[in-house]
């Protein structure tokens, strides 16, 4: 009989509304979450425009080395890479930001490639990896968590132990070990072969290391659901496992999965960038925000923009996703306990 019960009576009096609709409505009303969502959409849209920018505006292919290249700015011909002529004349420095969208807006990297165009392309890669690995991770975790929680017994035991093992493996060490190996061999799974340079390698690595983080809470939810009356009565009425899983269990764990998704995308984006930073994520000449930061480290003292810009992009994207995720949690599953990070 606190104030919350007042509002809950209010809701029930208004007549039944599907919980999905009401959650979505609540999410829509959460202004920061919606702003986060739109910022994320803008980042995605801008990154998707990368080829247009590279082709029509910058007139540069950001995947081809342009070491001897020149371009004209304010009527002067400028070398993209400039040989140092001072002192003992050591070193070659790429041009810095011109702040001109049609010519090396953020300058060039050590291969004379347009950093801004690479930043946009890198965003496509990072977002693709973050999103798809989060989807794969949540899907796999949902299946494993639900199966473990629902069937219990030896299946649960085996799955839980696998989760324990992955859990106890320091997370970056696991990712690094897998990367070092898979970047040499690629993945051979039956007839399917994934090349070592493929983006699928980091996607699958990142997806798999986080499975326990999602699967464990889901398993807990399913175990408590299983004890609830409606499931027990469904079991009692002789419904098949498949039917119960699809009709009863899944709708009840779905909100939790939805809450996990934006946060997982943010985690995975950060993980991808960290692996790429350690040069064991996305492989060159493909770019991701992490690889551009890595490229930029070699230029940190002369051209800091190369390393700083992608970090800002990562931060903006992750912030927008985290705010969206907070909103999704408030709307769909207020009790969900999530860490801010992994």
């Amino acid at each position: 009989m606190t104030d919350s019960s007042v509002t809950s009576t209010a809701k029930s009096a208004r007549g039944p509304e599907s919980p999905w609709r009401s959650s979505l409505r609540q999410l829509w009303r959460n202004r920061p979450a919606i702003i986060g969502f739109f910022v994320f959409l803008v980042v995605v849209a801008v990154c998707l425009c990368a080829p247009l920018y590279a082709h029509y505006v910058a007139h540069e292919n950001p995947f081809t080395s342009n070491i001897q290249g020149t371009f004209r700015l304010h009527g002067r011909t400028i070398h993209v890479l400039q040989q140092n002529t001072q002192g003992t004349g050591l070193g070659v420095t790429p041009i810095g930001p011109t702040w001109d969208f049609s010519h090396y807006f953020l300058g060039a990297d050590n291969q004379g490639r347009d950093v801004f165009a690479r930043l946009l392309y890198g965003g496509r890669t990072s977002l693709l990896i973050g999103t798809s690995s989060a989807l794969i991770c949540c899907a796999v975790a949902a299946v494993l968590g639900v199966v473990a929680g629902y069937f219990g017994g030896p299946i649960d035991w085996v799955l839980s132990r696998i989760f324990d093992i992955i859990w106890a493996f320091p997370i970056y060490l696991l990712a690094i070990s897998l990367s070092v190996v898979l970047l040499t061999t690629g993945i051979q799974f039956g007839p399917i072969h994934v090349g070592a340079g493929s983006l699928l390698v980091p996607i699958l690595i990142i997806a798999s290391i986080y499975v326990p983080y999602v699967a464990r809470p889901l398993r807990g939810i399913v175990i408590s659901l299983r004890e609830r009356e409606f499931i027990q009565s469904a079991i009692g009425s002789g419904a098949s496992d498949t039917r119960i899983l699809l009709k009863e269990i899944l709708p009840n764990v779905a909100p939790s999965i939805i809450v996990f998704l934006p946060l997982m995308v943010a985690f995975n984006l950060l993980t991808e960038s960290a692996l790429s930073f350690l040069s064991i994520g996305v492989q060159p000449p493909a770019a991701s925000w992490g690889t551009i930061i890595n490229d930029g480290l070699g230029l940190l003292y002369t051209r800091p923009a190369v390393a700083i810009a992608p970090g800002i992009m990562i931060a903006i994207t992750a912030i927008s996703l985290n705010i969206l995720g907070d909103g999704a949690r408030d709307a769909f599953d207020p009790k969900a306990k999530l860490r801010g990070s992994v």
Partner: protein, 322 residues
Amino acid sequence: MGLFIVRRFVAAVLVMFAISVLVFLIFFATPGVDPAARIAGRSATPQILAQVRHAFGLDRPLPIRYLLMMDHLFIKQDLSSYVNIGDRVVPQILNAAPVTLSLIFGAAVIWLLVGIAGGVVAAANRGKIIDPIITFLGIGAISVPAYWLGEVVLYFTQSKLHSSVFSWAPGSGYVPLTQNPGEWALHLLFPWLTLASLYAGIYARVLRAELVNALNEDYVRTARAKGLSERRILMRHALRCSLITVVTLFGLDVGALVGGAALLTEVVFGLPGVGLLTFNALENLDLPVIMGAVLYGAFFVVLANAVVDIAYAFLDPRVRLV
């Protein structure tokens, strides 16, 4: 309690066994990693290669090699690196551990202070402007890649502003506490702040959520009805109950960090801790060191889990250890 310890111990041994097997298999599944060719030298003849392979037991079947490695690591404790021949793994880890511990100790103090203060202030000021500000800062802290933040910090302290504001900032590297406590703290200051920013963000957010939940609990209403001050209710009742979650989180985080999860910070700031040791070993494919470091890391994760459970029981009288 006795049973609890036994169960935990058995579970830990099983998990660590599985991890060691996993590491072993991952390692030998990679082409080009056969350490014999690298140990023997660049153009060693097949005979020399065979001798080296034999000397290191690399010509034995995999299970035997595994057992030999475990024997050297745990029983004889003389397992040594494939890269720095004769450099024993156990002392390497023991030498690296103080660096990691120093890093984590300082960072933990900062992130606990900042995180708890942030969470408490945000929860106590719900509905005021300061709450969303702290929440946003927290989200920002967890959304910024830690290694990137470290690099940016290095850029500003070592290059951009080194001649003005940060002329006192030392270069990266580590100075042992026993050698010079002042320099120790000075060298670790920026790594501390960098590492702590992420965790302070996490803790402030988690604690705020826990406090808000706790402040809606019946016992808080009871406490108000008792005529306690809001401050006392917040600090002694809500915070005390929320700390259970924070302590759990703290235990697991510290366990993972001591075990090597501070790797990125160590790499960026060139701190020769366990994370950097492991990372270098992975880059060098130095299996003995990888094996030792990963098991060491896993041990701390497992240990942290157990300690957290004990702490949990200590903090929450409702919990019984079974």
